[in-house]
Symmetry: none
Subunit: 257 residues, 2 copies
C-alpha cells in the first residue's frame, strides 16, 4: 500500500498543503492514517476522493455541499446539479448585463473620440441604394414591416436606445465573425441572438416572434440572392459587411420612421 504525504498529494492534485489541512478540518477529506508524529498519510482512495472534490469545486459547489454529495448516497445529485445550473445561468446573465454596461460606458466616455457618425454607418451604401433596399423589403414584407414599426413605437425612449445598442453589437459581431471565417455559422447565430434580444424587449408578446421571423426572413432574402452573396461567381468577401449595413439601415429606418 502506497501512501502520500500532504505535500506529495497536494502537488499531485495541484492544490496547496493548506487546502488539504482545511479539507481535513472540515471532514471533507480525512487522511487514511497518521504517523506517530501525527503526519497525515493519504492512500489511493483519498486521491480519488480528492479528484471528486475538485470536480465539484470546479462547478463552484461550496465545500459543505460537496461533503453532502460524497457522503450521502441518498443525495439527489441530479436535482442539486439542476439547481446549481440555474444559479450559474443567473450569474451568466448578470455578467452579460455587466459587459453590456461596460461597453456602453466605454463608448460613452469615448464619445466624439471614436463615435460613429451615421454617415460612417452607411458608408459604402449610398442613400438611394439604401432606399432601394427598403423599398424591396417593404414590397416583399409590406404588412410585416408596418406591424414591426408599430411594435417598435411601443418602446420607451430608454428601451429604444438599449435595443439599438444591442442590435448594433450583434451586427458588428456578425461582420467580424464572417470577416475571419466566411464559412462559419455566424449568420445562424446572429439570427438566434436576434431572437434573444427581441424576447428581452417584447417578452412573450407574440409580436416578438413575428418581428424576429420577419427579420430573419429579410436577412434570408439577401442571403439567398446571389446578386449579393457572390462576386464573379465566387463568395463575396464583402457580403457580411454589406448585410450588416443593410440590416442596420433597415432597422434604423423602421425604428425612426
Amino acid at each position: 500500500m502506497k501512501y502520500y504525504s500532504v505535500q506529495q498529494l497536494a502537488t499531485l492534485a495541484g492544490v496547496s498543503v493548506r487546502t488539504l489541512h482545511v479539507y481535513d478540518e472540515a471532514g471533507l477529506l480525512k487522511p487514511a492514517t497518521r504517523t506517530e508524529a501525527k503526519y497525515r498519510m493519504y492512500g489511493e482512495k483519498e486521491l480519488l476522493r480528492l479528484q471528486q472534490i475538485l470536480f465539484y469545486k470546479e462547478l463552484d459547489f461550496p465545500l459543505q455541499e460537496i461533503r453532502a454529495i460524497l457522503d450521502d448516497p441518498e443525495f439527489d445529485l441530479i436535482e442539486a446539479l439542476k439547481h446549481h445550473k440555474s444559479a450559474l445561468q443567473t450569474r451568466q446573465e448578470r455578467l452579460t448585463t455587466l459587459l453590456t454596461t461596460i461597453d456602453k460606458t466605454i463608448s460613452h466616455l469615448q464619445e466624439g473620440e471614436f463615435q460613429m457618425t451615421p454617415e460612417e454607418l452607411y458608408e459604402g451604401l449610398p442613400k438611394e441604394t439604401a432606399e432601394a433596399y427598403r423599398k424591396e423589403a417593404t414590397a416583399k414584407w409590406g404588412d410585416a414591416v408596418k406591424r414591426s414599426e408599430e411594435a417598435l413605437r411601443k418602446l420607451s425612449k430608454a428601451d429604444f436606445g438599449k435595443l439599438k445598442d444591442e442590435m448594433k453589437a450583434n451586427w458588428q459581431t456578425l461582420a467580424s465573425m464572417m470577416h475571419h471565417d466566411p464559412t462559419s455559422d455566424a449568420v445562424q447565430e446572429h439570427i438566434a441572438h436576434h431572437y434573444v434580444i427581441i424576447r428581452k424587449f417584447w417578452g412573450t408578446d407574440s409580436l416578438a416572434d413575428k418581428q424576429a421571423k420577419q427579420y430573419a426572413g429579410l436577412g434570408q432574402m439577401y442571403i439567398d440572392d446571389p446578386r449579393y452573396t457572390e462576386l464573379d461567381g465566387k463568395p463575396n468577401p464583402e457580403f457580411a459587411v454589406f448585410l450588416s449595413k443593410a440590416m442596420s439601415y433597415f432597422a434604423e429606418t423602421a425604428l425612426t420612421s
Copy 2:
C-alpha cells in the same frame, strides 16, 4: 441645504445602513458633516458620489479601486474598464464551460435511468391510428425523431410530468383557438410557445433548438397537407383537434419509446 440621515440615504440608494458605515470607515464616502451627537449627515454631493460608487460596484470593482478611480483624476478610467471587461469575459467563458460540464454530467447520470409504460398515454387516440401517425412522422423525420427521443429520455420524472402538463395546455389552447377562429394565427403562437417550453426544460442545451425546430416542421407537415386541413374542399373544423392529438401522440411516443 438639504441633508440626509444614514437611513434616508440608504433607502434612497437601496443599500443598507451598514454599507454606509463601511464606506465611511473605508474613506470611500464620508458624510458631509456630523451632528453634535455624531450622527452622519449626507448632502447632495454625497448622494451623487454614492451613485458613482454603486455604478462601479455593479461592475464588480473592489472598493479600494473605486476610491482610486473617484479620488484620482489622473486615473485612466477607460483602460481600467477595458481591463475589467476582459476579466469579466474570462469569467463568463468559465461559466459557459461549467454549464456545459453540468449538462454533460446530468445527462451522463441519467443515462438509462428513465423508463415509462406507453399504455396510459394513448388515451383518446386509437392504437392503429396513432401508429400510422408515428410511421408517417418517422418516415419523414427519421433521424430527428431519434435525436429528439434521446433528449426527452434525459428528463427526470418530475420534469417529465411538468413538461407533459405544459405541452398539454399548449395544445388545448391551440385547439380552442382554432375552434373559435380557424383562420387565426394560433398555430404560429402555439409553435412559438412551444419554443418557450422547450427552452425551459433543456435550457442551454443545443438539442433544445433542434427539438423545437423539428417539432415545428412536423406540425407544418400536417398544416401543409390538404388531406388533413380540408374536408370536402372546405376548411376542416376538426383539424385543430386532430393536430392537437397527433402532435400530442407524437411527443408522447417520442417520450416513451
